[in-house]
């Protein structure tokens, strides 16, 4: 009973406690400049997690986001020279389109989303390898600064990435809370049969959820390649696990229906603090994924709605 009441508040309590703990170990950590740069660094992951939230919100999953971002870094690096700013449109369209493909496979051909997105992710990875010739690519620094420089500079002490993140969060929040799409996705996550019996063409909206996930993964990839001034088919590896952790730790369970993009904001910040704390505790980068794996399992076990699962296979 009390656990039920506390549960929705667990994410931000966790965030505060973790931040305070790291702050006690190293008071420098709590300096605004440090916190801001920490937040700025996590933005690509945040954008990816934001999109992933939609897939998980309906009770599905999108495992293609990391490969999608990889592929986009390659596409952005190659076509920046010829397309200029239009490369952003190409990237987002590619993400949206491939997300639609995942959605089509899931809703129309009834392939479970963890398989359909895994397959689409495989396709993305392969496209990245093929386009790049399996090499790391560089952007022309001057052109990058001219076209996308606004993404990565600073305004005062605030990293510009944060404005982009805030804008996307506001857009996603609007979709979730105020649009038919958001309402239907909630109904699908909480009780799909009832949504169907209300005469809603559920499949269309589910496809859109995967498309949004793909599009945001593409934006994450684009930002990442701009930050690094280049791209490679494996450059974003290591994003998938933290992104899923961010969504689940934030309080959107794998079973869907509750939580949302604001939760993912908190979840991503938790991931950021965990990462930073590992730095202070001297945990090597190669060991980080171990911890994220453990946190993921813990988060799933805590958040999942077991009443919706009759058996797990």
């Amino acid at each position: 009973m009390t656990m039920q009441r506390i549960k929705p508040h667990l994410p931000w309590i966790t965030l505060l406690v973790l931040t305070a703990m790291v702050g006690v170990v190293d008071p420098n950590f709590l300096r605004p400049a440090n916190l801001l740069s920490l937040a700025g660094d996590i933005v690509p992951l945040f954008i990816m997690a934001l999109g992933l939230t939609f897939a998980i919100y309906i009770g599905g999953i999108d495992l293609s986001v990391q490969s999608m971002a990889n592929m986009i870094t390659v596409i952005a690096s190659i076509y920046l020279a010829s397309l200029g700013a239009w490369v952003a449109v190409l990237c987002i369209a590619a993400g949206f389109g491939l997300g639609m493909v995942s959605g089509f496979l899931t809703t129309r051909l009834c392939v479970p989303s963890f398989i359909s997105t895994l397959a689409v992710g495989g396709v993305c990875f392969s496209i990245a390898q093929w386009l790049s010739g399996n090499r790391a690519l560089n952007m022309d620094a001057e052109q990058r600064n001219a076209v996308f420089g606004w993404m990565i500079g600073h305004t005062g002490i605030v990293p510009n990435e944060l404005f982009l993140a805030a804008a996307l969060l506001a857009l996603c929040l609007f979709i979730e809370r105020r649009t038919i799409l958001g309402r239907v996705l909630k109904a699908v996550g909480a009780g799909e049969p009832a949504a169907k019996a209300s005469g809603i063409d559920v499949g269309r909206y589910k496809m859109l959820a995967f498309a949004i996930s793909g599009a945001l993964a593409a934006i994450a990839g684009l930002l990442f390649s701009v930050k690094l001034s280049g791209g490679a088919p494996t450059i974003a590896n290591g994003f998938l696990l933290p992104a899923i952790v961010a969504v689940l730790v934030g309080g959107t369970p794998l079973t869907g229906g509750v939580g949302g993009v604001l939760n993912t904001l908190i979840g991503t910040l938790i991931v950021a603090v965990i990462r930073a704390s590992m730095l202070y505790l001297g945990v090597e980068a190669t060991q980080q994924q171990m911890l994220f794996g453990l946190v993921l399992i813990g988060a799933i076990a805590l958040t999942i709605d077991r009443s919706k699962l009759r058996t797990v296979k």
Binding site: L181, K186, A187, P193, A194, A197, G199, I200, D201
Partner: protein, 501 residues
Amino acid sequence: MYQLSSVDKKFPGVHALKSIDFHIKRGEIVGLVGENGAGKSTLMKVIYGAYQPDGGQILIDGKPVHFANPRQAMKRGIGMVFQEQSLIPNLTVMENIFLGYEAQFTRLGVVNWKAMAAAAKKQLAKVKLEIDPATVTSALSFAQRQLVELAKVLTLEERIEGDLVILLDEPTSVLSEEEVKLLFKLVRELTSRASFIFVSHRMDEVMALSDRIYVMKDGQVMDVVAKADADASAIQHKMVGRHVDREYYREQRQKPYDASRTLFEMRDIVLPGRPHKLDLALHPGEVLCLVGTEGSGREAILRTIYGMLAPVSGRFEMKGQELRNFNPRRSVAMGVGYVPRERKVEGIVSGMNVYENITLSQLGRYSRAGVIDVAREKALARDWIRKLSIKAHSEFADCGNLSGGNQQKVVLSKWRSGGSDIMLLDHPTRGLDIGAKEDVYDMIRDMSDDGVGIVLVADTLEEAIGLSHTIVVLKDGAIRQRFDCRPGAKPSLYDLLHHMI
């Protein structure tokens, strides 16, 4: 033989059982009736060991016993035949019967199937079921599965010493009249082997089968009635604390429907897998009731009207327009509303609040360019909470936490607020207590007054007769008979049964 002495059970906020005294004699059939929430299922769970009482004693042959779980209760001869069947569909009948007790047929971990089949055959003979024990369970009819379940419980006879008490939880809810008769005959014969506790919503069945009837209300035993003294209306009076009279179905509010206009008309409609042609029409203000046993084709007709099933041939006109493609979206747009049987699965979305549920079928009407006007939604919800006196603390209440009757009101307001004038009601009163049922009956009459046409699949035949203007009796997918049901000139149960079976 088996006895409960002032048993108490409390849950947070609920005193579920209040000092219950209960006993059953060897070979006796005891009925247990009460409204939803009266404490029947809690009492049963105490009896078969799923719950432990907070106070009082369980006595077997006068000696106190304690069950930590159902398995321990089984060792003392208490068996349960579940309403939601516990058989595993892809196992064979014999595997199901001896599930968890295979050791007696195994040597070095290898099962002797012949021995198991022979033993299973013996158990099946007890319930007079002549099937091959190697049949896969999913191939059996529902009634057969129920008997297998009973046979499974009867294996206790060989396994334990002492007497058996078998609980039957709503065993008749999905059986046809004929199957019910067979089951009752069997149970009476089996009283030489066991005592039975029989729980059912259907008063007539409880009265027909039981030697004594325990009437429960609010966690207490209100009365124990012997078969000879049983009187349906007296028992119902004790269950609800008031009389359930002939006004129950609101017959006095039944007005003639408008036969000059037609909401939909089916002509020579043939449904997939059924050879028969169906003709059916619905008029404004009419309650059209589809009557038949499970599998007689009632659901298929509802699903066709709702657009989930496309007919193979025939002509389907809705509001003067011939339908060519069938999908729920089109039906909803044409004013069809659907109150499904599985209220918690298809009716409401639990986890969403009242206004989100009410507008789910009409989001287009409460939005502009895909953006929802939440203020209007809330106003609408408040309006309907008041109109149907839905018991919810506000329009923000999670529908999953409402009681069954109030959930049904939310589903009805979803369609009514959208202006649906063809309502499909599939068992709209299933699982509701009597007060909530009466609310639903009132709402049906209100809808008729407003010129809504209703296609109803009722929970009981009495309900069908009481509510409808027209009854269509179905059997094996064909329309067998139509009855005109003017108040005062309604067909009897017998008239309907005659055509159903």
